[in-house]
């Protein structure tokens, strides 16, 4: 059974059509990336999966139930770390649990330790680097009880080296916890490196142009970034995006 199913979602703001019948689904435990040019309506789609904006038509299903207009059905990692400056790191990662009801401090402390953040439990966010804050933000998502995690371009503000480290770290966390992840990005390489499947969105009004199965076996090493298959894959996806881009412009 599909875990998350996006069923023919359309959304217009006045006469401005943003989403034009988006259809896709993800399996339980799968890592899926949503790849699209910036301004393609990815954030709008996320707001609908998050339940804080309702589609003009179509439905969002999670484990068979409609989560349209049901905020809090999925766990969310925003683009900026969005940590509360007045909370310690430990209290910050507990926030998602606090909102949904049940706190597990021991588990949280364990997770922080495994993420290489031990000793920072009582620190405040302003004492941490950008990469560390993003890790805290992701741990907050994993600790939240929802079965699906949405990641909204979480590494876009990081430098190249930190980003690669964070990608590897994310994969290790994911394989350890086996949660379903829907990852939004506009970086092709990042999408291929991380995902089981890449879903390519067109420009506005957005719809799914093509899906790519990523065959590389896990655990993935950094070396595959330079392998021939990887580059072919990247070229394929790039051309697909390019042609849609061109057809939208001419």
């Amino acid at each position: 059974m599909e875990h998350l199913e996006i069923r023919d979602i359309q959304k217009s703001f006045g006469s401005n059509r943003v989403l034009d019948g988006v259809n896709f689904s993800t399996e339980k435990g799968e890592f899926v990336s949503l790849l699209g040019p910036s301004g393609s309506g990815k954030s709008t789609l996320f707001r609908m999966i998050g339940g804080i904006s309702s589609p003009s038509s179509g439905d969002v299903l999670l484990e068979g139930n409609s989560i349209k207009n049901h905020p809090g059905s999925v766990s969310y990692t925003p683009q900026t770390p969005s940590l509360m400056p007045w909370r310690s790191i430990l209290d910050n990662v507990l926030l998602g649990q606090e909102i949904s009801g049940k706190k597990d401090e021991e588990m949280a402390a364990q997770m922080l330790e495994r993420a290489g953040l031990s000793g920072f439990e009582q620190a405040y966010p302003h004492e941490l680097s950008g990469g560390m804050k993003q890790r805290v933000s992701f741990i907050r998502s994993i600790l939240s009880p929802q079965p699906l995690i949405l990641l909204d371009e979480p590494f876009s503000a990081l430098d190249e080296f930190t980003r690669t480290d964070m990608q590897k770290w994310l994969l290790s966390m994911w394989s350890e916890h086996q949660r379903s992840i829907l990852f939004v990005t506009h970086n092709i390489e990042e999408a291929i490196f991380l995902s089981d499947r890449v879903i390519v969105l067109s420009q506005r009004p957005a719809k799914v142009i093509k899906e790519f199965e990523i065959p590389f076996e896990r655990p993935r090493k950094e070396e595959i970034l330079l392998s021939e298959e990887f580059l072919y894959m990247k070229k394929d996806i790039y051309q697909e995006m390019r042609s849609s881009h061109a057809s939208a412009n001419y």
Partner: protein, 262 residues
């Protein structure tokens, strides 16, 4: 503590210099006491006359404390209700500003006519001058709540109550304290004005008695005490702020001396 001394010596030096210039001018131009007494004379009187006016000081401090607590509570309640009920904000905001346009000097005698000479009209005067800076600062704090955090809270399915207590309230705390700092100094002024209306004791009474009997030196004693009290309340709030808000990276050179010229 060392940091305080480091930051405090400059304004202290300026004040000391000011007093020296004042003292020198008085003796050089031979200014009579009833026109302008010398600082040494004022400080001397402050010490020697202490037993005569101490009960006035305590009475004012008590009034300020009660008035400030009530005034700031009103400010906080007004801000929260205006923030949570948009309709109230639209309809009441202009009224809030209007409340500050009526001169307290004009309003005060009216309050005496309505409520007599008891503590109630005095509390009303202090509340009127106190609540406004707090309400405005706090409303501003609520309004500037971080958008990304708000987005996160909504996506996480937080209720309106959770959003308020977990996000908006702590986020607005620094703003609340800026309001409290302003109100703390205002409340002393408000108390003195309210005592002019008719009270049996208080710095305001002491001041009225002194000026009507041309005891300029005592008027200055009253002024110095008012300044000292305002400063004290200001520092108290600053200390409370430091105790409450521990998460901000310490800012260089806080505004220690803003109330010195009051």
């Amino acid at each position: 503590m060392r940091k305080w001394i480091e930051l405090g010596w400059r304004p202290l030096l300026v004040i000391t210099l000011l007093f020296i210039v004042w003292e020198v001018c008085i003796s050089f131009f031979d200014v009579p006491d009833w026109l302008l007494p010398a600082p040494s004379q004022i400080f001397g009187l402050m010490i020697s006359d202490w037993t005569n006016y101490s009960h006035h000081v305590f009475s004012t401090v008590e009034l300020v404390l009660i008035g400030f607590v009530i005034g700031s509570s009103v400010g906080v309640i007004v801000a929260i209700s205006l923030h949570l009920v948009p309709f109230l904000k639209q309809s009441m905001y202009p009224l809030l500003i209007l409340s500050q346009n009526i001169p307290v000097i004009v309003l005060a005698p009216l309050l005496v006519i309505w409520f007599g000479f008891g503590i109630l009209p005095k509390i009303i005067v202090i509340t009127l001058v106190c609540f406004f800076p707090i309400a405005i600062a706090l409303l501003d704090g609520f309004r500037r709540t971080d958008r990304d955090l708000m987005h996160y809270m909504k996506m996480a399915g937080a209720t309106k109550k959770q959003i308020f207590w977990k996000l908006e309230w702590p986020h607005a705390l620094p703003s609340l304290f800026s309001g409290l700092k302003i109100s703390a100094t205002y409340s002393v002024m408000g108390a003195v004005i309210s005592e002019w209306l008719g009270a049996s004791e208080g710095i305001g009474v002491y001041m009225t008695l002194a000026s009507s009997s041309f005891r300029t030196d005592r008027v200055f004693v009253a002024i110095f005490i008012i300044v000292a009290l305002s400063l004290l309340f200001f520092l108290l709030i600053m200390w409370l702020e430091k105790m409450t808000i521990r998460w901000q990276a310490s800012e260089e050179g806080d505004s220690h001396g803003t109330s010195r010229n009051s």
